[in-house]
Symmetry: C2
Subunit: 234 residues, 2 copies
């Protein structure tokens, strides 16, 4: 953007914007996926102060010429090598003192990774990126990331309930109905009745059968895929 090259400081002085102290602004990403029938979140182990050795949510600084969404997408790709997945702003967190280094306001994002795309590329800055089940989370995440994660979990459940099409971002392109139900059960934290679930699915017009089926040591299950739809949301 043009103002970046020259004029920023001058204008800032002239219009008094610069008399206010500026915070650093980061994006932090709560990336969820399903692994081994459990909801997992991506964490990185910090290599330096502060919170050295602690687990933290992946994230990084927002740069002047990008949108917030772009910043989140870029950080996510740097950490995981995955691009183009579902990514949505969650909330900002800016309590003073949340980062001992300096004044840092973070904008948290939620992302969902389909369960067949677990490949994690070694991040450029993340010493170690690991999936962690949300059930037995370490009590001490870095910064205020435990709070952010808890907020993300509540929001995830709320959003999945109010928009049934969200779930598609956690599943591979083709899947069995039993697998789909399983993902719902994991997110909602309770068992669902198979017949009621399938009856409800029909009324949602969310998935359609393919001709393919999945075979195992039992009766084969039909594979379904999501209907590519024009609209959902209220």
């Amino acid at each position: 953007m043009v103002y970046n090259n020259i004029t920023m400081t001058d204008l800032a002085a002239e219009y008094d914007v610069s008399k206010y102290e500026r915070p650093s602004v980061t994006v932090d990403i709560v990336l969820f996926t399903i692994r081994e029938r459990r909801l997992n979140v991506l964490l990185v182990r910090r290599g330096q102060w502060p919170f050295e050795g602690h687990l933290a949510l992946p994230g990084g600084f927002v740069r002047p010429a990008e949108t917030l969404d772009e910043a989140a997408g870029r950080e996510l790709e740097e950490e995981t090598g995955v691009a183009g997945i579902f990514l949505e702003q969650l909330r900002s967190f800016g309590d003073p003192g949340r980062d001992p280094r300096t004044w840092v306001i973070t904008i948290a994002y939620t992302a969902l990774l389909p369960s067949d795309k677990h490949v994690l590329r070694a991040g450029t800055d993340a010493a170690e990126a690991i999936w962690h089940a949300v059930e037995d989370m370490p009590s001490e995440l870095a910064f205020d990331h435990t709070m952010i994660l808890n907020y993300a979990l509540l929001e995830l459940r709320r959003r999945v309930l109010s928009d049934s099409s969200l779930i598609k971002n956690l599943l591979p392109q083709r899947f069995t109905l039993t697998r789909l139900q399983e993902v719902y059960e994991i997110l909602l934290g309770r068992a669902l009745d198979k017949r009621n679930f399938r009856k409800w699915l029909q009324s949602e017009n969310l998935v359609q059968a393919t001709t393919e089926e999945e075979r195992g040591s039992h009766r084969p299950a039909r594979l379904y895929e999501f209907v590519l739809e024009s609209a959902s949301r209220l």
Copy 2:
């Protein structure tokens, strides 16, 4: 992508947070109230460049030692003289170029003012603060405030639907059921059936009758108040 030249590893090496450019961070407040049976929003007329003479959402810079919620509350009080009303974070907006002066990320808040507290104090920095019906909004608000307002409207309707107790923040302490229904109708943008509405209200356990009634040139209406409750939300 220019920014790929700068890597996070540089930062990691020196803990040097300050070497990254910092944005200015503001809070902007979408303050709704009901006036003359219409949903109104508070706007201020800008007295200087940029967007001089345009209407804008009230707001201001976040200070280092305050939380984001505090910043929003403080700005709101500076503009309106009203403190302690319902205030909730909405979303962050940070597209590059949204403020022609410099890089400014804003965190938008939604606030609700009860319809008996319309007193607006002349703000310290707001040249002119005015209520404006959301129906016939001027097309050209300053910055990206039209987008923020539209987002706030969608969210307001969504939140009112999913949490019936929110409505209490738009009504005085005591009110008639007809008045309460009116507010719902304004927010939802459609007429409601009186008998169905009252039946639904009963099941919500949201309001309770007082012994007081309101008199006019017609049969008096009983006044109700909100039940002070322990919990709502999903």
